[in-house]
């Protein structure tokens, strides 16, 4: 009964994700005006920034579940933490790819090492890539769960550093859109941004639920096979 309810929720979340993604694309290409400063390429912003913020949410959720592993030793939380970090790395790779394309369009380069924001995001991404090397170099069990959880919690410290990097840096070309005075954009641009971010958060929720369900079914089948042989 619980699984059926879970499936219903996954269907609802995925339907909402598809609808909001469609709405976001409609707003980005048919509603929001072209930015006077950056031109047409600024439209990359509406997916690039929400993808980056969603990757922070993935890592944050992974760390929260990791904390639960350390406090309660819950095996389900270990799998949830792993799946969230896995998706965080995927969203991180998408952030780097879309950001690189945007950089080429507006700065004329694919990458620049002089930008703290870019380098710190790359460090965060590589840190979480190494999470998988650590996890799969240890045999499954309590010690692997604990080690993975501690690593996930260390990584989450890098998130505020990465987020604040452009605000702390003195010389930068990376635009700062959210300042202490609020979002530096028109109301229509901010509304489009919010819809796009909500859509990507729902996409993350869908991928998280489906991947988690797949891994749980896989584990149950393995257990069943052991019982039958």
């Amino acid at each position: 009964m619980r699984d059926v309810r879970g499936l219903d929720r996954t269907t609802a979340v995925s339907t909402a994700a598809v609808l909001l993604l469609g709405a976001a694309l409609g707003l980005i290409f048919f509603y929001v005006p072209t930015d006077a400063d950056q031109g047409f390429s600024q439209r990359i912003f509406y997916f690039h920034v929400p993808i980056a913020l969603t990757s922070y949410v993935c890592f944050g959720w992974g760390a929260w579940k990791a904390l639960r592993v350390l406090r309660t030793g819950d095996e389900r939380a270990d799998l949830e933490s792993y799946v969230s970090i896995h998706l965080g790395v995927v969203f991180g790779a998408l952030t780097l790819l879309t950001g690189s394309i945007w950089a080429r369009a507006s700065w004329g380069v694919w990458w620049t090492w002089s930008e703290d924001q870019l380098v710190l995001f790359l460090v965060l991404f590589l840190f979480y890539c190494a999470y998988f090397m650590l996890r799969f170099s240890v045999a499954p069990g309590r010690s692997r769960s604990n080690m993975s959880a501690v690593y996930a919690l260390f990584g989450v410290v890098l998130i505020p550093v990465s987020f604040l990097a452009i605000r702390l840096s003195k010389e930068f070309i990376h635009p700062v859109v959210f300042t202490s005075h609020g979002p530096q954009m028109a109301a229509s641009q901010f509304a489009t941004f919010c819809v796009a971010w909500a859509a990507l958060l729902l996409l993350y929720a869908t991928l998280y639920r489906v991947e988690l369900a797949g891994k749980r079914v896989d584990a149950s089948l393995r257990e069943l096979r052991e019982l039958l042989t």
């Binding site: 047409f40 990359i44 993808i51 998408l94 879309t98 394309i101 945007w102 797949g214």
Partner: protein
């Protein structure tokens, strides 16, 4: 005979590339999950067969 220099991509091509990357990711993810579902279905079928054989 010289070929004319290639024009740099216009802004809309960069935008299309950025959104294309995200689209390809979603498509690849659906393909991976589809393949995984097929594998799980096959394994479940084998286990049901084994369970039936055992009576």
């Amino acid at each position: 005979m010289t070929t004319p220099p290639k024009a740099p991509p216009s802004e809309w091509q960069y935008v299309a590339a950025a959104y294309g990357v995200v689209f390809v990711f979603v498509l690849a993810w659906v393909a991976i999950i589809g393949a995984k579902l097929q594998r799980l279905q096959r394994q479940l079928g084998e286990l049901v067969h084994q369970a039936r054989d055992r009576g």
